[in-house]
Amino acid sequence: MTVRMLGASLLSLGLLAGCAQTPVLRGTGDLGVVIERATGSVQVVEHSGRTSLGSVPGLGDLSHAHVTYSRDARYAFVFGRDGGLTKVDLLTRTIVKRIIQAGNSIGGSVSQDGRLVVAQNYQPGGIKAFDADTLELVSEVPAEYAPGKFSKVVGLADVPGQKFVYALFDAGEIWVTDFSDPKHPKTTRFPAGQQPYDGLVTPDGRYFMAGLFGEDGIALLDLWHPEKGVRKILDGYGRGEEKLPVYKMPHLRGWAMAGGFAFLPAIGRHEVLVVDTKTWTEAARVPVKGQPVFVMARPDGRQVWVNFAFPDNGWVQVIDTPTREVIKTLAPGKAVLHMEFTPRGDNVWVSARDDNRVTVFDTDTFEVRKTLPATAPSGIFFSHRAARIGF
């Protein structure tokens, strides 16, 4: 009797242990990660119930981190400042593989076919392509723009045709590299302008834009017509004659396209710039509380959410796109670093680094739906990025 009971207990223990090993059957469409920059960990979160599922430590220096997703949206590729590239399984919340691929890295992107994950590096300057399954190096393109001179790479974006577009900060160029033959990438170079600091591609993958720090304006490359070269647009965009100090470079990624207009951070100015994307000319400027860092459209394009550089980084403002007016000013906490919308935009998750929390807002009512504790949270990345061009 006792033996049988013991056996039964052991059996159930065994079953429990088995359960702990095997992930519960579920999708990954509502999962994501929150970067904890000071501790080198990520929290795996789910945005249906707005909970944290657990933490994955051991990811190195995440002081400037980026996350991109595998084609099946199960794995997060986490790029760290220290050149670390870590493949994290969202379901088991474990590290599948981790490599140190460079000395100083800022991000990366996944190819159109999902087979390559490409890192963009400051040191050594250039890009490297890895097998998305094994993280083995497939090929690399050093950003050697002149003999012995290497540039920091910014603004990497995947675009159709197994191509990646990126800008060279030190060289003032935009490069397009075709990985159709993964081991033998082919690169085309375009002069772009002085000190491109970040880049982005339109959601359809057609236009690549690089913001210029060293001069006013934006470098625009039409990837349907690369033979036409880079065109300079928005000459009034930039720091202008006053050369205002910029305390944090804006991030152009996650920029906002809404109703035929693009909403961009005006560098060094307390303004969001509205650009007519038919003519690529300035349509309006929206005054805001500080120097914008992220200017992000709710997925339906009706609202644009903006956060700011130091010292105004405790605020978030919401712009109504049809009227181009600020309709809400929020104070989500100290040092707001990033915002991420749920796939259909009902909620937005906002990280406040110095208050160690993530706040989930309802985007219609602006009510706080939830706050989650996190250690010095920065980037928030949901898995639906897996299906988007340029993320």
Partner: protein, 120 residues
């Protein structure tokens, strides 16, 4: 003439060093030191990296700063460096605070206190 100029240069440099040394002695209060450490790690860190190993901006480690004169570094912190992305931080600190930051950077910069506690 040439002698005069170099003499003046020496005097100016000495005065500058003396000023930096004097201001460095006037240490900011403990609470302010914490704010400054946080500002350097987090906000300067936007470009120079949280670990100060460099990013879009150069590394700010003792070995990379060793050969640079402290007063020139203080001037860079306060007024920025024209032609580069380095802004002036004078709106957010005074010169003695900048001198304290430079001195600490050259010694090896302290970590952010609050986050060290949290990570334990």
């Amino acid at each position: 003439m040439g002698f005069d100029r170099s003499l003046w240069l020496h005097v100016l440099v000495l005065l500058g060093v003396a000023a930096v040394a004097a201001s460095a002695q006037a240490e900011p209060a403990t609470e302010r030191q914490r704010e400054l450490v946080n500002m350097v790690r987090q906000d300067c860190g936007s470009c120079h990296g949280l670990t100060l190993k460099g990013g879009l901006g150069p590394a700010l480690l003792p070995e990379t700063l060793r050969d640079k004169p402290a007063d020139a570094l203080v001037a860079t912190v306060m007024m920025g460096r024209p032609g580069t992305a380095m802004p002036g931080w004078a709106p957010f600190m005074n010169e003695s605070e900048a001198a304290w930051i430079v001195q600490r950077l050259m010694q090896g910069f302290p970590p952010v206190a609050a986050q060290m506690e949290l990570s334990k």
